[in-house]
Symmetry: C2
Subunit: 257 residues, 2 copies
Amino acid sequence: MTERVEGDAGSDQPAMNEAETRRSADSSERAYLTIRKHLVEFTLKPGERINEVQLSRSLGVSRTPIREALNRLASEGFVSLTPNRGFFVRSLSTEGLLDLYELRSIIECAAFKLMCERAEDREIDRLREYWEAIVDGYRDQPADIILAEDEGFHLLIAELSGNPELVAQLASINARIRFIRRIQIEHPSHDKAQVTFHSGIVAAAVKRDAEEGMKLLREHIEMTVSATQQALKDALLKVFAPDNAADLKRRRKVRDA
Amino acid sequence: MTERVEGDAGSDQPAMNEAETRRSADSSERAYLTIRKHLVEFTLKPGERINEVQLSRSLGVSRTPIREALNRLASEGFVSLTPNRGFFVRSLSTEGLLDLYELRSIIECAAFKLMCERAEDREIDRLREYWEAIVDGYRDQPADIILAEDEGFHLLIAELSGNPELVAQLASINARIRFIRRIQIEHPSHDKAQVTFHSGIVAAAVKRDAEEGMKLLREHIEMTVSATQQALKDALLKVFAPDNAADLKRRRKVRDA
DNA sequence: GAACGCAATAGTGTCGACACTTTCTTGACT
DNA sequence: AGTCAAGAAAGTGTCGACACTATTGCGTTC
């Protein structure tokens, strides 16, 4: 008896309903996407313990697909698993984020260099065209679109490196820092240098100037990092400022004692 | 019926010093280790479909922990999942291996550079001591030990980079190429330059000469790659030469028709 | 004799149940 | 009053079962 709850917390998956394609309902995949969304949006808060039963109820599926999704998320570093105690939302400290950005910088620089060495001219053209196609309205879009376009740009570079492992790595990193990037894009400190930056990258690619491109990438990510620290601080404030029941309770207990 | 595979533990988990999710000795974990072992030893052959029921019988557990293990292995790139058709052993083409080695080179070089920039003197000393402690009997050990010691050496560099993400990445890559590395170490073409190489790395580290160290790492991995191609060819031959039932059946069918 | 479709089989995806572990609650003892 | 222990409650880890999908084998038709 499949109880199909769609109105509840499942509201995360909007345009996924194609009556045409006989796509298997695949609860696991939907659970994965939904939970990841909750993680990215801080609906599930850092450090919090994840209740499988509660999740399975709110998604209208049994615990099995929930656990499959959580295992996947654990491999990807979103959550951690303590035996017999369950899954916990991995708390992303500032430090942890910086480590991720550093890794991203490493991967992206390497990808750019390999692209310069290996890509065909017409492939470099694809990069230029991709950028030219979005540059016009770039800054006037909503944050989500900007983010997607930016990720697409960098993923394309990874693809043109000819090494699928780099693409996979970058995609994984992107997923993990997406939430903070979105926050940062919406943050007042978000700079207008993005456009210049991307144009510079394209120019360096066309010239096959690996050094120049890597320098730009490094600088850019470096710059982003400092902006990110402020954004993260604000974000955490926003998340934990509205009454956090568990936290309050713990404090009250201590105070009363 | 329970196939208890935990003997020579070192062969599969040489240097598990990772911040990754820690698990206890539950069924899932055992299944994960066992299946991974089968994968790296080609007991489960590239491209083959994985039968969950069969696996669960041979391990004496239900399908649930098997599926959890397989999901994890899928996130890590060992197997792939096709909806409604199940898990397949990912066929590691030569090309795919080269991509992995390239990624490894990128990560290791970056780690070395960061270590040179950041590590304390006494941390560099740890690296030197690690190497001095194993250098004596290094070449006279069985392949598994050599492999574990080598992985430990490189993981230590990653640790000294101060970025846990690099450690995690390297550990994951190591797991995926371990099977071929072991084969390669046992292969006649395995060179004696290993000792010189590691000593050179240590020397460069002590001098904080990032360029020198990265050059050594690149050269070394480059060299390994060509040796690996031959080793892989031999390995695949060895794996597929003894009758492969599925394959033979398919061929017979075609021939008879 | 070959292509097609239908039935039988094998195998995955998901479920609800239960055992065991951890955490919380209550109440006795000092 | 405070501490500790025993029991209750909550929650995870694993199981066997079942529905549905893909594959295989067989018989029919042209």
